[in-house]
């Protein structure tokens, strides 16, 4: 499946990335090379094979419902680009 620049631009938007025009062209071409290589997988007969989502056979990993100490507030926001009145500040979201 070949991807056009327009579709690649939509994927970029989904991923919240932006590219200059020439970059977008190059990225799309590179992606197409890689996607073409993926077509190899169509050679494999996978009828009836369950998808493997984990290499381990672990199930039911639980925690008990016991409160732990939350992170000290100052540490929680220490790396924040912008904080005011205990909140992380972001450009306005138009609802």
């Amino acid at each position: 499946m070949k991807i056009e620049t327009k579709e690649a631009a939509y994927v970029a938007h989904l991923a919240r990335l932006e590219f200059q025009d020439d970059e977008m062209g190059r990225f799309t071409a590179q992606m197409n090379d890689i996607l073409l290589y993926m077509e190899k997988l169509n050679e494999v007969d996978t009828t009836g094979i369950a998808p493997l989502t984990s290499a381990v056979a672990i199930t039911n990993a639980f925690r008990e419902d016991v409160v732990h100490n939350s992170l000290n507030y100052d540490l929680a926001v220490a790396n924040a680009p912008e904080v005011r009145e205990n909140c992380f500040i972001v450009p306005k979201v138009v609802e």
């Binding site: 989904l14 932006e18 790396n79 450009p91």
Partner: protein, 485 residues
């Protein structure tokens, strides 16, 4: 005595005997770093002050006879491991000034064992790369030839160990990022079984493939570090509850009567002839040691790369969505609104390889393509694992070259992503199947570049790998070569 040349176990003896102090060791180490780090550039952050403070504390403990397993031993950490209060960049502008408020579990365990940290090592950005050239902080050079790459993504850790700028180091391996640089830098590197070592505090790249593992100068050191870091962690759901043996018990066993699988798909045209020759010599050595080599087939090997480059970017695209300029990390300077802030922050904060993989990953998960790519790849992944399950019924371990070529030159493959991805063809399969893998040095090319041998075993059979590697190390004529820095 050049303390910086010594292994962990050698340092342990000297420290225990009181022949040297921790401060002596750390002092010597930083003198070495000051001498060669300029050429190698293995580190992003050096933690000199803290290290000397730790050394002082260690010496007090030693005086009281309170030595722990790793007291006074200087280790380096790949900058993908969160260290409390210490900058952790993941090789990226996105986390350039990020200071985690917590330690990764492995870091906690090493601290508890008394280890001293020399610094955070350089790496491909967000662990995406095989040459250490995508780091925001510049490339690392291979200590054996400063015009060549050390491998990646844990290139800094591999180079630091090879250049004797630490006694040992930790790295991470998602598609070969410990084993490949270990081979290219002539050191021992292990990727444990998936779930063997806690991923808590490891900045995630591909969650179902990532593992943390050691870089060491010899096999005994590898066993020592594995003892310190392996084991169940309640903070990770995918952490294995399988008991951790004392890995040092495997060092003396030998390989008499063992069956070593030689998979034909890993001995293909295109491997550097010197690499091939060196690996064949190693096979002969094992036969001399009493093992029997069995030709086997891992029929789905040719699909590993395609499966990996669907699954890893897909998981990565999701794992890296948290880097949005809101809670921590880089945020762009000027923006019109939220959408603009997101796009500029992520486009300026991430390098091109990271963006390429995020795009790929987003695409293969997007509506209409999930079944064709991600689901299909997951199914083939199941077949790849099955190949190994069947192989390990017939043999104890599997042997392959670690990398098809020795270290290539800086800049040689940066223009063609597919070319770069091919450096991982021998290592990727172990991550997909979740099995442990170990790379050990097995020779040099005529140009003096290291060659690595890869050993693979079944789930939780790290012991077998160490046993086999130890037998090889003891028997093979010891090359006392060091890089000329």
């Amino acid at each position: 005595m050049e303390l910086f040349r010594l292994t962990i176990h050698e340092l342990q003896s000297l420290l225990r005997a009181g022949t040297v102090t921790a401060t002596d060791v750390v002092g010597d180490m930083y003198r070495r770093i000051d001498a060669v780090e300029g050429s190698v550039h293995a580190y992003i952050t050096l933690t000199r002050e803290a290290a000397f403070a730790q050394a002082e504390a260690a010496d007090n403990l030693i005086k009281q006879g309170n030595l722990k397993e790793l007291t006074g031993i200087p280790l380096a950490l790949k900058d993908i491991l969160c260290t409390q209060g210490e900058r952790t960049t993941c090789g990226s502008r996105m986390l350039n000034n990020f200071v985690p408020p917590y330690d990764a579990t492995v870091v906690e365990r090493l601290r508890q064992a008394g280890a001293i940290f020399t610094g955070k090592t350089n790496m491909d950005e967000f662990a995406m790369g095989s040459s250490n050239e995508t780091s925001y902080f510049g490339a690392t050079a291979n200590p054996w030839d400063l015009t060549r790459i050390p491998g990646g993504s844990s290139g800094g850790s591999a180079a630091a160990v090879a250049a004797d700028m630490c006694a040992a180091a930790l790295g991470s391996d998602t598609g070969g990022s410990i084993r490949q640089p270990a081979a290219l830098c002539g050191v021992v590197g292990m990727k444990p079984t998936y779930g063997r070592v806690s991923r808590f505090g490891l900045i995630a790249f591909a969650s179902s493939l990532d593992q943390i593992g050691p870089f060491t100068k010899d096999v005994e050191d590898c066993a020592i570090l594995m003892n310190a870091i392996a084991g169940h962690d309640p903070r990770e759901s995918t952490s294995a509850t399988v008991e951790v043996p004392d890995y040092r018990q495997f060092l003396l066993g030998g390989v008499e009567g063992w069956t070593i699988g030689i998979p034909k798909e890993y001995f293909i045209a295109g491997i550097d002839p010197e690499v091939e020759a060196s690996v064949q010599e190693a096979i002969a050595t094992f036969e001399r040691l009493g093992a029997r080599c069995l030709p086997i087939s891992l029929p789905h090997t040719e699909y590993c790369l395609a499966v990996y480059y669907i699954i890893a970017p897909a998981e990565a695209s999701s794992n890296l969505a948290r880097y949005d300029g809101v809670k921590y990390g880089f945020r762009t300077d000027t923006y019109r609104d939220l959408l603009d802030m997101y796009k500029k922050t992520r486009s300026e904060g991430f390098g091109p390889e990271v963006k390429r993989r995020i795009m790929l990953g987003t695409y293969v998960l997007s509506a209409g393509y999930y079944d064709a790519y991600y689901k299909k790849a997951s199914q083939v992944r199941g077949l790849i694992k099955r190949d190994f399950d069947e192989a390990f019924r017939k043999c104890d371990v599997i042997l392959t070259p670690t990398s098809p070529t020795p270290a290539f030159r800086l800049g040689e493959k940066t223009d063609d992503p597919m070319q770069m991805y091919l450096s991982d063809i021998f290592t990727i399969s172990a991550n997909l199947a979740g099995i442990p893998g170990l790379s050990i040095p097995c020779g040099f090319t005529t140009d003096g570049l290291p060659i690595g041998l890869q050993l693979l075993a079944g789930h939780f059979d790290e012991g077998k790998l160490l046993q086999m590697a130890s037998a090889y190390e003891k028997s093979a004529p010891q090359e006392k070569r060091r890089p000329q820095l």
